[in-house]
């Protein structure tokens, strides 16, 4: 085995954990190679340190269950409180927007121009007004839609109102 192979093999698995053939090859190489022996030594030391770190275990205290359940309840209460707060804030937003709409409608009602009211005693608008408007406006395009009878009736009616015989 070459140095590189030995070092890769050591990093992959310590000789103690490797199969017999591999272990013998690594050990034989390390007997004659100082550098690789140091690598092996460091790898074994690292493994010992990791094992030393793993010896210490911490068990849960008898109150741990109670603590977890209390935290869950607390977090649940916080979630409910947040939900209520969210609900109230959205309700406030809805009420505020409704108020704005009412104010705008009121403003429109107060300041918008009112429609012209019919003067008392004035002649009521006649059914033939539309025909009359077409004839009197000299709208040639619309004139085509009228019958000659309608045109004559309108002209005579207008003549009466102006005192024309």
């Amino acid at each position: 085995m070459r140095c590189r192979q030995v070092r890769n093999a050591i990093d992959e698995q310590l000789p103690d954990a490797a199969d017999a053939g591999r272990r013998l090859a690594i050990m034989a190489h390390c007997e004659v190679c100082t550098e690789c022996r140091r690598v092996l030594e460091a790898a074994e030391m690292a493994a010992r340190l990791i094992q030393a770190r793993s010896f210490q275990t911490i068990e849960p205290s008898p109150f741990f269950k109670t603590r977890v359940l209390a935290a869950i309840r607390e977090r649940g209460a916080v979630a409910v409180r947040r939900q209520t707060e969210r609900m109230w804030s959205s309700a406030r937003a809805i009420v505020a927007s409704m108020f704005v709409v009412v104010v705008v409608l009121l403003a429109l009602n107060l300041f918008a121009p009112k429609p012209v009211q019919q003067i008392a005693g004035a002649e009521p608008v006649r059914r033939s007004d539309s025909v009359e408007r077409i004839v009197m406006d000299d709208n040639t395009a619309a004139d085509d839609s009228l019958t000659s009878g309608q045109v004559l009736d309108t002209v005579f009616a207008q003549g009466d109102s102006y005192g024309i015989d």
Partner: protein
């Protein structure tokens, strides 16, 4: 009535417990905490050594598990599911803390230097005291602190607790090849750190090594 319910919960399967706890049964979740508390503590103990830190992170793990109970479909084991939550929570916590300091040989305490000298001299005297004692664990923490948290936890599981690769895969959610490659690279990094530490002991002048 209450004790009967408690007995029923005690004998319930993990999947039933998860379902009951998911629908708000506190007694069922209490049983989950009782069953898997030691397991979660052991996982947290791989990352943190202080009892307060281990307890706090374990509590966080169970809180997360409680909120994620709906995602457990019973395909894998509940133990594997909760172990993954525990491992990820611990890794996130370590990443948040950004604790990844360089190791300096000059940071060793006298006790740690003694331990190292004893080991280098090949002495097996008071091995038990040193190996199981707090000194070796402190030194291990310093050395392991210089590698990435993922590498650290892989090495502790594989080389410290002798867990099979398959179990490590279940805990981390990684593939077998990823675990093996990561472990090999982590061993190399750790070995090089230890080599530097040993070399600094051998040289007459002690200095900061990187």
């Amino acid at each position: 009535m209450g004790s009967k319910l408690a007995v029923e919960v005690e004998h319930a399967s993990d999947i039933d417990l998860a379902r009951q706890a998911g629908s708000g049964d506190e007694l069922a979740f209490e049983e989950i905490v009782r069953r898997y508390g030691p397991r979660v503590f052991r996982i947290a103990g791989r990352f943190f050594r202080q009892r307060s830190a281990v307890e706090e992170i374990s509590q966080e793990v169970f809180l997360r598990a409680y909120t994620q109970l709906g995602t457990y479909e019973g395909r894998g084991s509940f133990e594997g599911w909760i172990s993954r939550i525990a491992t990820n929570t611990c890794l996130n916590e370590i990443r948040k803390a950004k604790r990844h300091p360089e190791f300096y040989a000059a940071d060793l305490t006298d006790d740690e230097e003694n331990w190292l000298e004893t080991r280098l001299a090949g002495s097996s005297l008071s091995d038990d005291y040193f190996e199981r004692g707090i000194i070796a664990a402190d030194l291990a923490d310093k050395v392991l602190g210089s590698i990435a948290p993922e590498d650290r936890v892989i090495l502790i599981m594989l080389d410290g607790e002798d867990l099979p690769v398959k179990e490590v895969c279940e805990i981390t959610g990684w593939s077998q090849s990823k675990v093996k490659i990561r472990a090999m690279r982590a061993r190399r990094k750790l070995r090089k750190t230890v080599e530097r530490m040993i070399n600094s002991r051998r040289k007459p002048a002690k200095g900061q090594l990187r």
